[in-house]
Amino acid sequence: MASLRDIKNRITSTKKTSQITNAMQMVSASKLSRAEINAKAFVPYMEKVQDVVASIAAGSDNTSHPMMVARPVAKTAYLVITSDRGLVGGYNANILRKVMNRIRERHTSKDEYVILSVGRKGTEFFQKQEMTILESSIGLSDHPTFAEIKEIARKAVGMFSDGTYDEVYMYYNHFVSAISQEVTEKKLLPLSNIESTGSTASYEFDPSAEAILEVLLPQYAESLIFGAVLDGKASEHAASMTAMKSATDNASDLINGLTLSYNRARQAAITQEITEIVGGAAALE
């Protein structure tokens, strides 16, 4: 049985750990509420872009743009959004598992797909698997602005347009609630099923519907990526909050158990001491 001092040391160190995890939980909670605000701020933009794209697509049947046309698939790109740091529970593992399963189902050789990675965890993972990473973005801030992801979004869309790959799937954790996040797979390109969220008006196009699509579709695809990153970030903070909460809970369970055995050991020591004294006194009589 561990000595009194050993137990005491463990209690103190566990307490310190729980203080840290508790603080991290509160930090994540406040980051989460900001991430939710950011995600909300983005909604009007997304809805508007979607509306206009939908009304153009619906208005002119003969309008087609390379980004909307499915072509024979020689190469698939997987855009995977993970976090930069750990301590977020199953956040990264869930996404990566899903991606790996998909890849195994769909492909037999490594030449058939490429990876676009946002987040250090994913990038490191795919490097270890020796997969082709065409583009990676590490070090996003906790509350990314559009400017931060513009670069990778532009490249992801650009490489589809120039034929580097023929379809793009996007993987990220969708924020459902503070305790639940869902791994989501979304086909990004070619664009399909653009649904309108509101009433569609018939527009005049200046100079032409084609020219508008030329500007609009890349912007639409980029904003889809940005939306996913924001969603992923909110999930990341939520996952981190949950993970830290359960770590804190575990620590306090541990501390309770340890305190119990500390008290037992203390009581045992006292009892033994008394027995020895009594025994000693009896021997003198």
């Binding site: 950011n38 701020a41 983005f42 009007p44 933009y45 997304m46 508007k48 872009v49 206009v52 153009i56 602005t145 559009f146 400017a147 513009k150 008006a201 018939s202 527009y203 005049e204 196009f205 200046d206 100079p207 020219a211 508008i212 030329e214 500007v215 609009l216 912007q219 904003s223 940005f226």
Partner: protein, 134 residues
Amino acid sequence: MKTITVNIVTPDGPVYDSEVSMIIAVTATGEMGVLPGHIPTVAPLGIGAVRLKKENSTELVAVNGGFLEIRPDKATILAQSAELAADIDIARAQESAKRAEGLLQAKKDGVDFKRAELSLKRAMNRINVYEGNV
């Protein structure tokens, strides 16, 4: 006086929302003035200043890319970035103008001229809007 509602929205959130009497924007085909009651139109925007005329004042917004969607009583500008004159970080704009100019003049290989040019254009646009000389 008749007015039209203008919304300027970027991925980072709404930037502007107000009633104005006239909008002047730089579209891909040239400058375009929009008055209340305009026919529904969509036009892509370049890098430039959007002028929003009110009764007796004009507000300037530096807009980068995106497009303009007009309905008779409402206009929406969807831009990748947009800043009101008062919100422009002038030091940053001057810094990036200098950097882009340096890149363009260096004429080195491996420099993405198109990007440097765009970056210069954006910076100049911000500076112009900030100083109000559009």
